[in-house]
Symmetry: D2
Subunit: 380 residues, 4 copies
């Protein structure tokens, strides 16, 4: 590594001004990035900036994107080990640059060794305050919200981190259009009740109150992934829940068997191909329970259940569940919004929504949220 | 570096099948990438691929983009030193992947230490043949053809490699739309007669017959940059010349002084703001001479002079020069084509054409070249 | 009127091949066009074609659009009286032209004198068979489906026929994209239970089984508008119902008073601004009843309730009603689909969806219907 | 004809405020509309407006478009005879409406009987002043500038008025984008030297100084078509000349024979398919002469020769000619601008540029003219 004279290493915990994106612990030496879209943001007045990142994994390596003054300039795999990565060099030392380092890949429940951490920066510059955006939005979802398929050729079939994007997905684009800070909690294949393959443990609500509770292994526990999330510290104006696609898929998948207990789970189809009413009710109950939990954790947020980017089969059930929640709770800050379906024209890799599908979804969702969010107040 | 079991290191010279893009020498241990858009392409059947890259520079670091199956998946700075960079991992070992490693930054005439080389790959896979595309196009230009401004925010003013793109510029996009292999020779600020600041040495024609003759320093000489280019080895179907923008700017810039001899050069304006006729004639003569040289080196190519992405002031002179060349040579495979101007809507960083400007230019140029190029013949 | 030598007048009833669009009676001398989008279609092999149209009205004059070979070539007001209108002249007499005359304005429940009829054609040509399209779709709606606002400047506020279009609205565009024949039943301001101003008589279901029962006056009765519709003669593959927007508006409008009986009707808001539960249930019951009626009349059609082009407030109630209908009927060929909201960018005249809003709605609806409709079978 | 009570007929000459578009005589009883895009504009404060139009023709009937508040609301053929045409009715009598009646079809040199005149209006309203736009632009061209092919299906081959548009062509769109008043002089098949079929009389320059000198027949003479144009009365800021396409075609067409004298004319190809140099020089001389004439008539205008919507073969000759004109005249307010070629995607009827081709041309030309035109000055 070669850095400019005058550059000095600063541990993250010693950086005066920085904005940490995404749920994480208070630890900054190092900062662990758990979720997709998590990261760190600085306003650096200097000619050069490096970051020291550390990655580990058995299977699924992390990727990062780098944004300078809001524009995407780099995207790269972070291989195992501790590396210095240069963000910029040779720039006008007198001008402040806004820099965001973004984890481009979801938390990996399937690889307990997977980890991305930032230790330090090296720069000749200083750090100016980073302002909060006028809004905060939390997105909860599955592979769609993880941006799976945004990157890569249509023919791709391997399930690997390379095809994920936290920068070009509808959540990031919507937040950008609304000028909002955002957090994403998402997991490919998971649902609100079960995963696509009927695993009743693979649901987001179960882990919602933890920092990143779906991670496994001793190391993640040590890093604080299982600690309770500090909701008071970051209250969103809106929570967007994009779940149901995998719950719908479960009806068409074989039963899941718990290897420990031998117990099985299966969302059933009727003989005529329709959803088994009882199993559908279990899904609806899961939606309703999740809304109760979300409201408890986010007293003031608009709760917006979105659905439709890979078809609409669960929409009636979602409407019923949200209806039931409204009726039972009296809560009126909750609604359902259909996102545009993915078409031959907009599909990306792995038969998932491509960049164009995410753009269209973001355009529609932005319009919808604009009407729900309070007007921005100029600070005096 | 951690690679999969079974992976082995192979020096580039020992890879059975590969396509090298861009002018370079026959040396493969290592392969030196001189020009923007240069690189290497493989069809790798394996689960994992790493490349060993080496970079050096005083000022301007190289960047690379990585394309997998034709789609852009990564873009990163290559800092000084020798590094293993992972291209992909965890993929289906039985399926062949088309991989292109592309130098995203122009040859740097202003930094004699700047260098990017590829030494070896590490993979568990094997290499399948890479077919030639039906067409070959060579692009010659300045900052526009270097893709300066395609990346980055509109506010950016620093002249640094980060803002350049060899993947999203009009040359790459045009070649992609035409299914053509392509080479780029380009240099920011340079012209056909002088640079934007009246330096008569900073012109592309002077170095056209060398591999990458505009590079300086002993090291580049040793690497073969100054060697004659082997034209027979790669004959283009079309040569697109996008020069004149900086020649036009020279009329509005102060005189250039040769520090060695004290000689000065200046393209002059008349008092009424029009171009000095004599100096304009010198420009036209340079255009004509370059066409003579291009034809000598590329006997069968369509020669297409394009211009207009940053305004049209030199267009009459370009038409006159091409006219004179046609008249004097009898050559009929030469023409002029106006590219769409950059607008407020399409501008990128550093007041240069942005991604949208390059898309529009590529769309128009593709249509024009389609009519000039011979129809593709299916090989029997 | 001047027509070519050889041209002869043919009463509509004597034209060998023609396709009549839209619900009407069997009468052809003249043919009465009741609904928006209704009209007549011919394949004329001749050099010249005129139509004899007759219009009458107190307030709201009819307009027509003319399409030649599928392209919109003319749009004009038809003023009161009987007129010969030239469709084309001077064309190649040997070539057949597909011609569609389309009523561009809705049936006018508010003007009992409003009438548009076609008596005859004058041509030197002959009439070739007009094939049926592979699909038939019926659209039922309000001002949105009447295309109100598609034509005209954003500033327009007058409620006049000029701003309506049956050619550029989402119904026509969707039918075009799906290669379907289509019929429209629509009325500005009306709903499924009440109109925007709480009039319980101004609902589409009440008149669904008649040819055009919402028309008033003795003349319309004579013309057969109140006769039962012959459902067997034209069975749609899909019925798209776009109602609810005015039912939603009614909650925010003053009560309606029946001038005859003094009775009033009002959909009420609760004090907190939410919908009165009882009144909402009345709306839901109306939706369900309408679905029962639609199914009775259209045994095989997909019933698709669409909503959202002017906001979503009634969507939960629509989902509840459709749910109830499914549960009570066992009918599974019924669903709900959200259309994209109108934005500042896509709005047209009179604060209604503009041409761009209709294009986007048609794009999304086309994608949705494609999955529901049976594949086209090639006729042997 | 039925008009509202209170409506009165006003001869055009008695309308207090009106803007007449297009070259015509001072006669207003009636007003003759010669050229495509010509017409009349009013600001009418009233509820209803009718116009009395008179048409005559042997072959080619006129068409008109009607714009209300800048938006296209109607387009119709005007058949032979004198008709009252309703522009609007039932509107708010207190609000002023901007109305433009536009002749949608070119002057017809091939039909000496072809004529369109406006006699009177009938309205209950009064007429408010119509302001001049900040710019004036004159467009001179052939079928492209006549908007031939903008309307109609791609398959259309008949040469009839129906496919022409003065509202959606690049001239109207450019003027609209620049907020300019505009005039069009255009004739399908004509050139600057000869027509597409080598007729040396069918050139626009010959008739430039007359009001509409290319019209034939006694009636047109009586109407003043052959009178000298009053250039002082309407001085354009720019003259856009889009000629050369048919001059290029002439090289590929058979010789033309003057039936009176037996003389023939033919622009010749060399044996190798290139243009005969002498004939090309005749074309260039015609361009130069036309520029001299244009400058004499329009002392202050930017002269912009545009070309390219149907290919570029004459562009080098155009550049040479404009060059020669600049050199010989010292005139610097003259330039050449390439318009985007028509593609498979943008083609319209009769193999001519379609609506999308005109939109793209207008976008590019608007950008170019913006840089040439003086900034708008706000009037005090």
């Amino acid at each position: 590594m070669v850095a400019k004279e005058g550059a000095r290493v600063i541990e993250l915990e010693n950086i005066e001004h920085q904005k940490v994106h995404g749920r994480t612990t208070g630890e900054r030496s190092p900062l662990t990035l758990f979720w997709t879209g998590s990261g760190v943001e600085w306003n650096v007045r200097g000619s050069e900036l490096w970051i020291e990142a550390e990655a580990a994994y058995d299977q699924y390596e992390p990727w990062i994107s780098i944004l300078v003054n809001g524009e995407w300039v780099s995207r790269q795999m972070v291989t195992a080990g501790r590396h210095w990565i240069c963000v910029f060099r040779g720039m006008n030392a007198e001008v402040a640059k806004n820099v965001r380092i973004v984890k481009d890949v979801q938390a990996m429940s399937g690889d307990s060794a997977c980890r991305l951490q930032l230790h330090a920066v090296k720069t000749d510059g200083d750090f100016l305050p980073v302002e909060d955006k006028p809004y905060r939005i939390e997105f909860i979802g599955d592979s769609i919200t993880s941006g799976e398929g945004v990157i890569g050729a249509k023919a791709e079939e391997d399930w690997i981190p390379m095809w994920f994007s936290a920068v070009q997905n509808y959540a990031a684009l919507t937040a950008g259009a609304l000028d909002a800070d955002y957090r994403i909690l998402s997991q490919s294949g998971w649902g609100v009740l079960t995963s696509w393959d009927n695993n009743p443990n693979a649901n987001l609500p179960r882990y919602y109150e933890q920092i990143c509770g779906l991670l496994t292994g001793e190391k993640n526990r040590e890093l604080g992934a299982l600690e309770p999330n500090d909701f008071a510290a970051w209250q969103p104006d809106a929570v967007v829940i994009n779940l149901g696609t995998n719950d719908g898929g479960a009806f068409h998948s074989p039963a899941w068997t718990d290897e420990a207990t031998g117990e099985t789970h299966k969302q059933r189809l009727n003989e005529d191909g329709s959803f088994n009413r009882e199993d559908l009710k279990a899904f609806e109950a899961a939606v309703e329970r999740f809304l109760v939990k979300l409201r408890a954790c986010n007293p003031k947020a608009q709760l917006v259940w979105v659905y439709g980017m890979l078809g609409l089969p669960m929409m009636p059930a979602i409407y019923r569940a949200v209806d039931a929640y409204r009726a039972n709770s009296g809560d009126r800050k909750v609604s359902v919004f259909q996102l545009p379906n993915t078409t031959e024209e907009t599909v990306g890799s792995r038969s998932h929504p491509g960049a164009l599908a995410h753009e269209r979804a973001a355009r529609d969702l932005t319009g919808y949220l604009k009407e729900l969010l309070p007007p921005v107040t100029v600070k005096g």
